[in-house]
Symmetry: C2
Subunit: 207 residues, 2 copies
């Protein structure tokens, strides 16, 4: 929402002199308290100002885009997760590449015989192995994967925002969602990817 | 922003009986016009209602999440584009794989000797070629790429929302931004990817 000149002026006054009563704001603007009432109501409801009885108005410190996006902060990963594609660590690089095409994903999660997460394998890991002229029919995927503990993990109550930040800062396309089994062991239960974020971005507009 | 009970009631009245004057709304609620003024101001400013002088209030038909996301509709691709990685169509698959690693991208754009876009080459295209045991040092990339006209294109004034929708519906990670040279020929000027959208999503929260 766009603020009127007067509303912007009010925000400035409260920013500089808050906490301040409605009376005092009206005085500074040479207006009556009654004239200001709608503006103060709008600014408080929209979250620019906070009002406390008998004290006055505070500046909330929130910009218009902060207010706009506060709602988005409630998205958590378990509500948006995809199905994880999981392979055992002794399958060959060739089979892992086949899984990428058959399952139509960009990243594979690798587990040991107890189904504990031991690694992550990306399209680039597979590309590096196959371009090197190695025998991809005989090399197991655990030779070329990124290993625990050098893996970014999510738990199901983490924010989607945290997941998105991790994908950008760590330059990865996908993150496993895990449940801890204790002693540094994790079961994979889901997956968040840049596709997840792109789908959410689209769905925000389609409501 | 959250509406009060009274504001929700007003929206319902206007939805059912609009266009309707402020007087008439006040009558239905057994309140004075003056009491309603702040609520009507809030609802109009926030976009739920539209007001026309001498006619009254209309329901805008916009939900709270629609209003929230209307601002986002102004994002256009030229303001968020990345640098495109462009190769000539006669480079080998091996060199294309090297470019993926050196340039740290997921998708390459392929051009002819006139620098017209002729194809797009993804990590999966390269993976398919290298797993097949073909001689990647001798096969040119134009054998394995996706060719024009089967390529999704963006122009620099397209909405980021359109780009995101295309990536989801066509299941692709990246789209070239092009300038038309006429006669179905295009120069590549930029790139939008799921990484672009994920970065924007993060930046919306960091303002």
């Amino acid at each position: 929402m766009e603020l009127s000149k007067r509303q912007e002026h009010i925000v400035d006054i409260v920013k500089n002199s808050g906490p301040i009563t409605g009376e005092k704001i009206a005085e500074q603007l040479n207006l009556t308290r009654a004239t200001l009432r709608p503006d103060l109501a709008i600014l408080t409801m929209a979250g620019y100002l906070e009002a406390r009885p008998r004290v006055g108005y505070f500046y909330s410190g929130k910009s218009s885009s902060q207010l706009l996006t506060e709602q988005l902060k409630h998205y958590i990963v378990k509500d948006y997760q995809s199905h994880p594609v999981i392979l055992k660590s002794d399958v060959t690089v060739y089979d892992a590449i086949c899984a990428i095409f058959i399952e139509d994903v960009g990243t594979l999660f690798i587990v040991n015989e107890d189904n504990d997460l031991v690694g992550v394998c990306s399209r680039k890991d597979l590309l590096r192995a196959s371009m090197a002229g190695q025998d991809i029919h005989n090399i197991p995927v655990n030779i070329i994967m990124t290993r625990m503990p050098n893996i970014v993990l999510l738990e199901e109550d983490d924010l989607l925002l945290y997941a998105a930040r991790q994908m950008i800062s760590k330059e990865i396309d996908s993150i496993p969602i895990v449940k801890s089994k204790g002693a540094g062991k994790y079961t994979v239960t889901g997956r968040i990817s840049k596709t997840t974020i792109t789908k959410l971005f689209v769905s925000l507009f389609d409501q």
